[in-house]
């Protein structure tokens, strides 16, 4: 069976589909239970952000290799309103949803690498990678 590597986020059920896909890939790569929980949670938060703020978008999961190390990369893309002040959303406790999501600083802490690119009016792309220890 081929692993589906991209989930379209349109409704709240797609959030469940995205994190299940992520958990399966993490298990497959040999991540331990704690890292599986980290990756699953990070995907859930990113997919929820898309659902809440952009309406729709995609979450893709990629197996990656670097310097002989294996890992998995989450790519969350939307064409929503974008983020005006990235520095501000990366501050702990900043919220525009009244506390529905834990926010991006939490996701950054769960993952090893985190990169965000956003253009107001165009959309947001977030890359987050976890390496196998």
């Amino acid at each position: 069976m081929e692993v589906q590597s991209c989930v379209k986020i349109i409704n709240e059920w797609d959030i469940v589909a995205a994190r299940q896909l992520g958990r399966n890939v993490a298990k497959d790569l040999g991540f331990g239970t704690v890292d599986q929980a980290r990756v699953t949670t990070a995907i859930s938060e990113l997919a929820r952000n898309i659902y809440l703020y952009a309406g729709q978008g995609t979450v893709a999961i990629e197996k990656v290799q670097r310097n002989g190390k294996a890992g998995m990369k989450i790519i969350a893309v939307d064409e929503g309103p974008g983020i005006k002040d990235i520095r501000k959303v990366m501050e702990d406790g900043y919220t525009t949803s009244g506390g529905l999501g834990a926010g991006l600083p939490g996701v950054k802490r769960l993952m090893d690498e985190f990169d965000i690119d956003s253009t107001p009016g165009k959309g947001t792309k977030i890359l987050a990678t976890k390496w196998l220890r």
Binding site: E12, W13, I15, V16, R19, Q20, R23, T33, V34, Q36, A37, R38, T40, T41, S44, E45, R48, D92, G93, G99, L100, G101, A102, G103, P105, G106, V107, R109, L110
Partner: protein, 118 residues
């Protein structure tokens, strides 16, 4: 699918056995408050031993269930939080400070009896 809520003397017992989606979590919130109202329960134990991850939404629902039940006059203890769940919640920045917790169902029931004062 709805989460079963069992009555045990003056307490309610819930064991969440599968991954919660948003709709199920919100339905559970409503069902539990309704059941507290119907049964006059003083305390609730929610066991989440089988849950292997909690995101900010589920954490918010659980925290809200605790506060809402408290408003009605019932105490809630959450039991069986797995190591991986505790680690990810704290890293995510969610502390669930006010929520009562215990290691397992047995200790949860004990804690509830203490809290209820008998």
């Amino acid at each position: 699918m709805r989460i079963p809520i069992l009555k045990l003397y003056d307490c309610l017992l819930v064991s969440i056995q599968w991954e919660l989606d948003d709709a199920t979590a919100l339905q559970f919130q409503e069902d539990l408050l309704q059941k507290i109202h119907e049964t006059n329960a003083n305390g609730v134990v929610i066991d989440i031993t089988s849950i292997d991850f909690i995101d900010s939404f589920i954490a918010k629902v659980l925290g809200d269930v605790f506060s809402m039940s408290k408003l009605m006059g019932a105490k809630v203890v959450i039991t069986g939080i797995q190591p991986a769940v505790a680690i990810t919640l704290i890293e995510l920045g969610i502390t669930l400070d006010d929520v009562l917790t215990a290691l397992d169902l047995e200790k949860g029931l004990e804690k509830l009896q203490q809290e209820l004062g008998d």
